[in-house]
């Protein structure tokens, strides 16, 4: 069983009569240790999918499980627990609490895990070290640059040792230089064995992740998995999802 499994997941927004099919049936498996990027035009449903993956939102239809736990029928309390223990989420706009210090922001998930103040501090400083922000632990978000804020947000997403990290356009608000550093951090995390899912507009960024998913009109339109074309450096030689379906060797059809 894959770490994350989606079967026929839909999300329909009902705007007073007019129904918007933000997700129109998504099947997706994410294995532990994968680094996946999601691309697609604006409004295609990338964020909607990420929010459902991150258990911040619930699907309208379909089935979904994370780490073996069924999510679509879970009660709010269970979802909170999954978000707390299994998931790290990195937002485009950082979403740090402005009145808390860097360290307190990173400690936040641990508070809800019931860590003692001393252990929270220790663990927070540990991950802040990982993102090279431990020297700014007493600063407030407003005293940091965008890239630094995003590092802190990544530290917060790492602090609970999540099974999977979701990042919705983490570099969208950063200049390309800073964004690159953040991406480098993601690649290091991947190299360290972590599972990551990344939404991006930038084909160059997507080109560097081992697995790429393209979303169009709320559906997975295309998928590239470089691991299936080992030895090939250029993605245009890679097998598409349709190709795999044709040869019938997709691991996800098992």
């Amino acid at each position: 069983m894959a770490l994350v499994e989606l079967r026929g997941v839909t999300k329909i927004y009902d705007l007073g009569g007019e129904k918007i099919h933000a997700l129109a049936g998504v099947d997706l498996d994410i294995e532990s240790g994968e680094f996946t990027s999601i691309v697609g035009p604006s409004g295609s449903g990338k964020s909607t999918l990420m929010h459902i993956l991150g258990c911040l939102d619930t699907p309208t239809g379909g089935a979904m499980s994370i780490d073996g736990i069924r999510v679509e029928k879970a009660r709010p309390k269970e979802l909170a627990r999954i978000r707390n223990r299994k998931i790290g989420f990195v937002f485009q706009f950082f979403n740090l609490l402005p009145r808390l210090t860097v360290q307190q922001n990173v400690e936040l998930p641990l508070i809800y895990m019931g860590y003692s103040a001393a252990r929270r501090r220790e663990r927070a400083m540990e991950v802040l070290g990982l993102v090279e922000m431990d020297n700014r632990s007493r600063h407030r978000p407003s005293q940091l640059s965008g890239g630094q804020q995003q590092r802190v947000a990544i530290a917060r997403a790492l602090v609970n040792e999540p099974r999977i990290i979701f990042a919705d356009e983490p570099t969208g608000n950063l200049d390309s230089n800073t964004g690159e550093k953040i991406l480098q951090l993601f690649h290091e995390l991947h190299a360290g064995g972590r599972t990551l899912v990344l939404v991006t507009h930038d084909p160059d960024i997507a080109g560097l992740t081992p697995r790429r998913i393209e979303i169009r009109d709320g559906r997975i339109a295309d998928e590239v998995d470089t691991r299936l074309v080992r030895g090939t450096e250029q993605s245009r030689f890679a097998l598409t999802r349709d190709d795999r379906d044709a040869v019938g060797d997709s691991p996800r059809e098992a």
Partner: protein
């Protein structure tokens, strides 16, 4: 979840908006301080009542006074009212065996007649001058500390003697605090309405235990020169009303009073001589009602059926005071209740404003794992925290309120803040915090993380 973190967060919220938080707490501060202050005032009054009942020498007695207003069916007899006379006293003595002691009294006070008391250019301000029989001392539980009480011979001879209380001494001869020693003016002559009277006795100084301690301490400090002696301070005009009354009285024999001040010419008090009150002691509290009935029967005959007299028991007095106390308590509770409700609404309002301001933050907390319950608790505890702080400030402010009340209406009784009222006040503020935090807490906790994060 970690309680310390929640509290830290609450403190941060309050610090983030100090003015707003204070305004929010204002209602609570007002409510709690008036609650405590009212409680203290009421407690003081109750203390005063208890003191008074003891100082007035028990409940097993009643007072017969004149009643100007006749019952409706006798209104036309208004010009024939006999009034209380010595004849009534004699009749009661003869025909009301239940009454164990009957004491007539005539009262002159600063308020209803000209009353000047002087000694060598100094004037006293007695609350009352009483002409009565020696037995009156028992009724009011007086104790002569220096000299003696006038006796039946003084009464018989209508001697110009008086027994004074310490307040009169303070006025005429100086208080122990101003003179540095206790003056005992027994044997001196003073002038009451320009007529000479010999002081034959002085009562003890009436005061509570705490007043006594404070007075002795003050005396010690004066003697050691630590504080300055007051030039003419009379300590006898402090304390609750009953003490002030007892400490500012002059007693003379009834006949002396009648002859010297009521222009009675005869040697023997005539039966027609008007008096103010007849004070009756009964054997015990159980026979009080029967005794009153007996006295009424006798007086109905001597007054030819005209009911121009009334009976006043200590119970009546206690009831009056208790009614006043109850009124105070009810109005205090209403004021405090309204203030607390207003305070609670204020807190709820602020909490609602604060959560719509913080919806994004709430969304972030939920995104990293805060459960609905954790969010609810956070809001609830913040609200309780606000109202407890308000409550504590209110407790401090209550001192000011008590001082204000005491200065506006100088009651006879020092307000007393009890521990129970403090605890009750704190519990009330916690209750207000809980009640006003529930709705905002529920509202905040119900947002889904996505709704909250997208909220603008």
């Amino acid at each position: 979840m970690d309680f310390g973190a929640v509290i830290a967060n609450s403190i941060r919220e309050i610090k983030g908006h100090p003015v707003r938080s204070f305004l929010t707490m204002f209602g609570i501060i007002l409510g709690i301080s008036s609650l405590v202050a009212m409680n203290a005032v009421v407690k003081g009054m109750e203390n005063g009542l208890k003191e008074a009942l003891i100082e007035m020498g028990g409940m097993d007695k009643f007072e017969i006074g004149e009643e100007d207003e006749l019952p409706d069916y006798q209104a036309h007899l208004g010009d024939q009212i006999p009034g209380l006379t010595m004849a009534d006293v004699y009749a009661l003595q003869a025909s009301a065996p239940l009454l164990s002691q009957i004491t007539p009294a005539v009262e002159m006070s600063r308020w209803n007649s000209r009353l000047s008391v002087r000694h060598e250019g100094r004037f006293a301000r007695p609350y009352r001058l009483y002409g009565t029989w020696p037995s009156y001392m028992e009724l009011e539980d007086h104790h002569v500390q220096h000299g003696r009480m006038f006796n039946d011979i003084d009464e018989e001879m209508a001697n110009s003697v008086c027994v004074i209380s310490t307040g009169i001494r303070d006025d005429l001869f100086g208080s122990p605090e101003s003179t540095g020693e206790e003056v005992i003016p027994v044997g001196r002559t003073i002038f009451i309405n320009d007529m000479p009277f010999e002081i034959i006795g002085m009562f003890q100084h009436y005061e509570t235990e705490t007043e006594r301690k404070e007075r002795l301490e003050r005396m010690r400090l004066i003697r050691e020169g630590k504080i300055k002696a007051p030039s003419n301070g009379s300590i006898s005009r402090q304390g609750s009303f009953i003490y002030r009354l007892k400490n500012n009285s002059i007693f003379i024999p009834l006949r002396t009073m009648l002859i010297k001040f009521m222009s009675s010419k005869s040697e023997e008090p005539e039966p027609v001589q008007r008096i103010d009150t007849i004070n009756v002691r009964v054997p015990d509290l159980e026979s009080l009602d029967a005794s009153i009935q007996q006295a009424r029967n006798v007086l109905m005959i001597t007054h030819r059926g005209i009911e121009d007299f009334s009976f006043r028991t200590e119970e009546d007095m206690a009831e009056e005071v208790q009614l006043t106390i109850r009124n105070y308590r009810v109005s205090g509770a209403v004021i405090a209740g309204i203030a607390l409700v207003v305070g609670g609404v204020g807190i709820m309002n602020i909490m609602l404003a604060s959560i719509s301001e913080r919806i994004r933050e709430i969304g972030i907390c939920k995104a990293v794992g805060a459960t609905d319950a954790a969010v609810f608790n956070q809001i609830l505890i913040e609200s309780i925290f606000l109202s407890i702080i308000g409550g504590i400030i209110g407790l401090a402010a209550s001192q000011a309120v008590i001082a204000l009340i005491s200065s506006l209406t100088p009651t006879d009784n020092t307000p007393e803040v009890t521990g129970a009222s403090l605890i009750f006040a704190l519990c009330s503020s916690v209750m207000v915090g809980i009640l006003s935090g529930i709705y905002p807490g529920l509202k905040a906790s119900r947002f889904s993380p996505m709704e909250a994060l997208k909220y603008e």
